[in-house]
């Protein structure tokens, strides 16, 4: 597990795919910009620099405007994310039910700070403010699957599973 300079590494961008997203799926309309960005993010798990640049040139929207949108919305990320995403709710109810302990536990086990990714690009830890399921606290979201009343064993099992891959 060598330390990789994550910031400058970019996956191979398939520009025909981005073309297809812009032209075929959303008709090249400026109003659908956010949907296009969501589709690109779904493909690469983040918004790659050159993909945004291409989007900006194709649509005739200033690059800075797209950057502004990408940084404004919490659901967009301009930093690469891992293959698996582990989100822990840190809302008031979940916090009282021990989500803080859970984050501490994950940090001990994997060395991850909230919002960071492991160097081998396998796991990303995220903290979300509230997922609107306070009655089921604490909530842990593993790869978009919601786990109500999550326990430490569930998280540790998942981390072991990711490490074993």
């Amino acid at each position: 597990m060598a330390a990789i300079e994550v910031k400058y590494q970019e996956p191979e961008i398939d520009f025909t795919l981005i073309d297809r997203i812009i032209r075929d799926d959303y008709g090249g309309n400026k109003e659908n910009l956010i949907m296009m960005m969501q589709a690109i993010q779904k493909q690469y798990r983040y918004l790659p620099y050159s993909a945004l640049k291409y989007l900006s040139d194709y649509m005739g929207i200033p690059f800075t405007k797209i950057y502004e949108i990408a940084t404004f919305y919490a659901s967009f990320s301009i930093e690469p994310k891992g293959k698996h995403i582990l989100s822990v709710c840190t809302g008031t109810a979940c916090h009282l039910k021990g989500s803080g302990e859970m984050i501490k536990y994950i940090k001990e086990k994997t060395g991850l700070e909230p919002g960071k990714t492991t160097p081998d690009m396998k796991l990303t830890l995220e903290c979300v403010n509230c997922v609107g399921a306070c009655g089921l606290a604490p909530v842990v979201i593993i790869n978009e699957k919601y786990n109500p009343e999550a326990e430490l064993s569930l998280v540790s099992e998942f981390i072991e599973q990711v490490k074993a891959e």
């Binding site: 620099y49 200033p62 690059f63 800075t64 405007k65 797209i66 950057y67 502004e68 940084t71 404004f72 301009i78």
Partner: protein, 259 residues
């Protein structure tokens, strides 16, 4: 068109529908302090200094005067005790961000702000957004406000030196706290924000006086914005002073030719 009856600080005046409170106040010679307002740009209500007390119907409320369109008869007070308190608080918070601004120092003196109340942040920027807005309208659409909430800051795309900057300097000129620096270093113009280089543009070289002047820019985009397709062939290799001299000489030559 319908005119609205506005009572501004106890004096009766009129306003057109959809006029903002700030416009009406300026027309009537009432001063409202602002940091993020420019007549040339859309109001953004970022600095919150222009807060006034508005009574429409029965209830009174605080609104930002720069972007509040008047739609009905109303009473506006621009300098009550509550507003002064609010402005004082805003100035104290802004002063913690940039304590060196002359404009803020003047306002702090006027409103009696307590400068030791908040821990200084020394950010040098009040995040009024004027530079980003003027860049979008005048310049090369280089600057933007990135992030949100407490993370918001003036930035170029991905924080790197932008290739789109045309070096017009509108952002430098419009900044109320002088947080952006512009400097001509030999054959390049450098714009610096937060001590970080935001753009670097090559300068034109005058062939007569051997000095550097105005930035090299792609005129096609400028002409596009003006709605013209062809680019005029100006004497690009002369600085304004030399061009004036040359023109003067030409006029003088013609004058002597005729007589």
């Amino acid at each position: 068109m319908k005119t609205l009856k506005i009572i501004l600080n106890g004096k009766e005046t009129t306003a057109k529908p959809d006029q903002t409170i700030l416009e009406v106040a300026t027309e009537n010679g009432v001063f409202i302090p602002t940091l993020c307002h420019s007549n040339a740009l859309e109001p953004a209500a970022m600095c919150r200094l222009c807060m006034v007390e508005l009574t429409e119907g029965k209830r009174s409320k605080f609104v930002t005067s720069c972007n509040y369109p008047l739609r009905q008869d109303a009473e506006v007070k621009t300098d009550t005790e509550a507003i002064r308190r609010g402005r004082k608080m805003i100035i104290e918070l802004l002063m913690a961000r940039c304590p060196d601004s002359d404009e803020l120092k003047r306002l702090a003196g006027e409103y009696g702000a307590n400068l030791s109340r908040f821990e200084p942040l020394n950010d040098d920027c009040v995040v009024c957004g004027l530079c980003a807005r003027v860049c979008e309208k005048v310049g090369g659409k280089t600057l933007t406000l990135s992030g949100r909430g407490v993370h918001i800051k003036v930035d170029t795309a991905f924080g790197e030196a932008s290739p789109y900057c045309i070096g017009c300097g509108a952002c430098v000129q419009i900044c109320p706290v002088n947080a952006i620096e512009i400097e001509d270093i030999e054959d390049e113009r450098v714009i610096t924000i937060h001590g970080k280089e935001a753009a670097r543009i090559k300068l034109n070289h005058c062939e007569t006086c051997n000095q550097y002047y105005g930035p090299v820019i792609d005129l096609t985009k400028v002409m596009e914005r003006l709605g013209e397709k062809t680019i005029p062939p100006p004497n690009l290799n002369l600085c304004p002073a030399c061009a004036r001299q040359k023109l003067g000489k030409r006029i003088a030559d013609r004058y002597y030719d005729v007589y």
